[in-house]
Symmetry: D2
Subunit: 348 residues, 4 copies
Amino acid sequence: MTDTRIAVGIVGASGYTGAELTRLLLGHGGIDIRVLTADRKAGQPMDTVFPHLAMAGLPDLVALDRVDWSGIDVAFCCLPHGTTQEVVAGLPDHLKVVDLSADFRLADPEVYARWYGHEHRAPHLQPEAVYGLTELAREAIAGARLVACPGCYPTSAQLPLVPLLEAGLIEADDIIIDSKSGVSGAGRALREGLLFTEVSEGFHAYGIAAHRHAPEIEQGLTRAAGRPVTVNFTPHLVPMNRGILSTIYVRLAAGAGADDLRAHLAGHYAGEPFVQVLPDGTAPATRHVRGSNHCLIGVFADRLEGRAIVLAAIDNLVKGASGQAVQNMNLMTGLPETTGLEQAPLFP
Amino acid sequence: MTDTRIAVGIVGASGYTGAELTRLLLGHGGIDIRVLTADRKAGQPMDTVFPHLAMAGLPDLVALDRVDWSGIDVAFCCLPHGTTQEVVAGLPDHLKVVDLSADFRLADPEVYARWYGHEHRAPHLQPEAVYGLTELAREAIAGARLVACPGCYPTSAQLPLVPLLEAGLIEADDIIIDSKSGVSGAGRALREGLLFTEVSEGFHAYGIAAHRHAPEIEQGLTRAAGRPVTVNFTPHLVPMNRGILSTIYVRLAAGAGADDLRAHLAGHYAGEPFVQVLPDGTAPATRHVRGSNHCLIGVFADRLEGRAIVLAAIDNLVKGASGQAVQNMNLMTGLPETTGLEQAPLFP
Amino acid sequence: MTDTRIAVGIVGASGYTGAELTRLLLGHGGIDIRVLTADRKAGQPMDTVFPHLAMAGLPDLVALDRVDWSGIDVAFCCLPHGTTQEVVAGLPDHLKVVDLSADFRLADPEVYARWYGHEHRAPHLQPEAVYGLTELAREAIAGARLVACPGCYPTSAQLPLVPLLEAGLIEADDIIIDSKSGVSGAGRALREGLLFTEVSEGFHAYGIAAHRHAPEIEQGLTRAAGRPVTVNFTPHLVPMNRGILSTIYVRLAAGAGADDLRAHLAGHYAGEPFVQVLPDGTAPATRHVRGSNHCLIGVFADRLEGRAIVLAAIDNLVKGASGQAVQNMNLMTGLPETTGLEQAPLFP
Amino acid sequence: MTDTRIAVGIVGASGYTGAELTRLLLGHGGIDIRVLTADRKAGQPMDTVFPHLAMAGLPDLVALDRVDWSGIDVAFCCLPHGTTQEVVAGLPDHLKVVDLSADFRLADPEVYARWYGHEHRAPHLQPEAVYGLTELAREAIAGARLVACPGCYPTSAQLPLVPLLEAGLIEADDIIIDSKSGVSGAGRALREGLLFTEVSEGFHAYGIAAHRHAPEIEQGLTRAAGRPVTVNFTPHLVPMNRGILSTIYVRLAAGAGADDLRAHLAGHYAGEPFVQVLPDGTAPATRHVRGSNHCLIGVFADRLEGRAIVLAAIDNLVKGASGQAVQNMNLMTGLPETTGLEQAPLFP
């Protein structure tokens, strides 16, 4: 009997997006996890690094340069920003690549250089990379060899904003995106500011007017609006593990009201398995999407005339990272899009 | 085409064990959730009560006395302790019943009356009820019509202790069970002590030498030891949603050491899909079983001569409640025992 | 020897603001706590209701109608909104009253009636009531008999915004106040949404475009701007006990920049013991004011042209409630304003 | 006018015990903080390292070897274990030294070497060092030049156990100390296991039968019992910032009952400002001592015959570290023992 499962390698499997990807792929059914790399932890069993993945029979972690990619169908890259571009450039051509880093998200090399502080190291691949916001680019993703999965914040911002801009229901300037994220969005890096004692029982903003997800959001909104868009994007750190809530303040196009926005989004996402537009008066909460690939969207009238409030909630590690990566892989390999992503959220 | 799925009703679906059961059954594949009852919330859609379960197409909540049980195969009872016995007595005979309350756990009606403050109201059913600690009673569960699922704390205590007592590796007296639980174990009741502000950033013991799970544990250990066992059981409340860690202090039988205990448990549970005995030096952590049906067990030598330390971690809502209930239902209906329970833990 | 301490009664001492007031007054030095009322818990010792206040020798809780107010100098009212107005109307005239509820905050009875759903029941007292945002109304507070302490959110919003509007540095329309609060702001009420399991590991907005602190903020900003001001005010619930961070998006007046705003605020609050304007690039965090009467303010340039971002952090129970109440009482009784409020924040 | 305040230096001020000491000393009234050292952060203002201490006018951090100790009365040492002994040996003789590390806690150099893996580097100072468990060694502390403040866990264990052993009310063997601590006990070190995402929503034991606080506890209990005592000490990590609860399982001496233990402790600690023995049926909770120097003790009868359960709660950073250090300094300098430590706990 032939194993018809798709053979997968995860590059950079010792971080949280790698672990979450592994969790989702273990429940996928059509996947064989064949390679897990982590250069600094090479040689260790995966369940030493992530004990919650014990009992799954995973391969040990190996160094990237020891991997034999023949026989592997898909590589997921979960490396830190800036290190991925050269790695991807070095992978054999037969591999489909789903990249979770920021390296191939910005189509304009000048914008990349300005925000990341160095020239892009694989510019020849950038034209090929498809920006993988699944619901808004299905066809291109299905035909892509290299997909750049969106950042967590940009996913939460673009899912509601792109359809509204395309429909001309909101103004393209004066968009304010006040986002709040759980701590796993910062990864597993050893930084003082991520210690339990520094995060719990407190709240603050960071990267104010300087976060690298701003140009990514602007790229998507610019395409949707058909003209250059600059946004306010202000991220905050919430003392919780998972979840992003973006509270977005928009100016209505002439004649439009909050109900129009809600109705348009509801129509746009009707039938979508992972995006739900909530009825008037219901606010999305991150706890209701925890562990799932869902995005909840709510729209409220503002007391400020001519404005509306749009809220979107996702799990940053799932729809904001590894879940959307699996969703994209399903499209790229011809599998049903929801495979491996059907589990309900975990609450409480 | 005939629907060969098992038709299920959940009595008391508006609490956390009901919600967790629903979550697990939605991912089961072989189940059709046909009835959800909640007397005080009758008429409400399930996703008003539990928004995380939206998008699943669940039936609305109904009052228990409005349920038509014909065509239903299995009833899960998730009612508060003390109210279940009459409800179960009133259910039609064709139903298999998986009870998550404490009502049918204590075989001795006098013990029940002493700890619960009233005579049992369905004593004729008690002889029929099988105590559903799955790994230790598979055969009886498979043949049962009424299964009493163990309490969360008793599950964490008995899984390691029963095999050790049966093998005569530990003394039956002087067992001290220091348990720590997340807050969901207390259910969704409106009590001041369960408010976020009263629980977070703090830790305390409760029900000291007076918790109703003590006689349940003693019943199981008495059977295993073949003579009356009394235990110290001291529960504590941890500022987290899910998880139980029981740290158990035992006196070794003459000639036995901690390594013998670990080896015996490892052998006893070899091949079990949900119980894992950790290697020497590795301590179980609740975060590594979060959202899963797993139980992790560790054994450590004590510096006190003649003693050992046994630790067990479970998710109180899964292996400690709804997950074990599904595991038992699988046995009772002839399904593979792990169906619906294969998902990996959620971390972080 | 005469006791020269001020005799104080706390009406409604069984809630969190009552407890926090007690904590602060115990460390004040010039205060004798003589009366603690709580109608439903009358007869109980305070340390049954708040064990952390044991060892302080506090009087037992009594019913309000049993209090002998002779000999008492100051009454703090910590009752729920809507119940205070009649209570205050019934207090003897010799008492100075510091009210922590919303009952006397809104000067316009029509605005009160519209937002609270009933006519004000002590309208004759409203003209007398001084709105107690201490730094902005010292003189009036010092001469007042009845002070209405500001709400927690309005304190965090008005401290930065009022000076900026008065100076004409920002536009009066298009002010967006995205606020995030710890759970203690909701009090000790038994509501499902305040259970630990419902709050922890999650984040959501509530009271969107409908929160009663909006008109209170607008009243203050209207006075400062000299013309009617409407604001966007969107509160969110953070899984932490204490703290408010308000992220405020403002439109700059012609010619003004973020640096001008920061410089103006720094000058305005120079020498203030409890308000600190942070240097450019430093963002306020709630954990750095925990347990203290401090307010931290930061100002950032926005990438949106003509806009700036103003952030303010307070402890909702201290500067947002009981601390500001003590600060006002100090002024009303001629004590140094900082007495009892000098303690440093508690971190971690 | 002469400044009669005591001049203080804090060695190692950039960790949590240093910050907590600073917080307490700022509210002390009789202290002038003149020196703050931190070798790796030398040159930085203290409020860069600990923003919650801004507005206090503290001196900048300096390197230890740059300190002029003339004119300084007391040095607090908040350095990591193992580095303190040489530092203290190098301090001038006129300084009184309050050491918060473990370096001078163990009187027996062989025990030190066995548990810390190297010979003690200032053995000549060990005979001089007084073990500073304040309530149990007041006289010696008052006369000491060098005080070794107890560890956080040992404080919580010895305060209840020493008087019980001295009175012969409990057996000296078979003492099981199951302790649970908040995360600040681990300090501010960058370790993966201390990240928010690794700690929150989880619970585990660590250092099982191998924690260095075990010999420290045993030293104290051996003195109290008059014969060698070995204990079980099992620490656990609680997802909270502050607090230790030790649940201690003891075997009663012949003829003694839980009520005798409670009565003896209540008598022993009668009049103590910081130790409170709770009435029968009341369990101590860490949240009721948060931020304070209090220790709450409860005693419960066990269902196991001949056993009792003793519980003690402290704030690990206050009574378990910096608060007890201030208490000791007060004794060493002839100040009232409670100065600077009178503040009530912070709840919620």
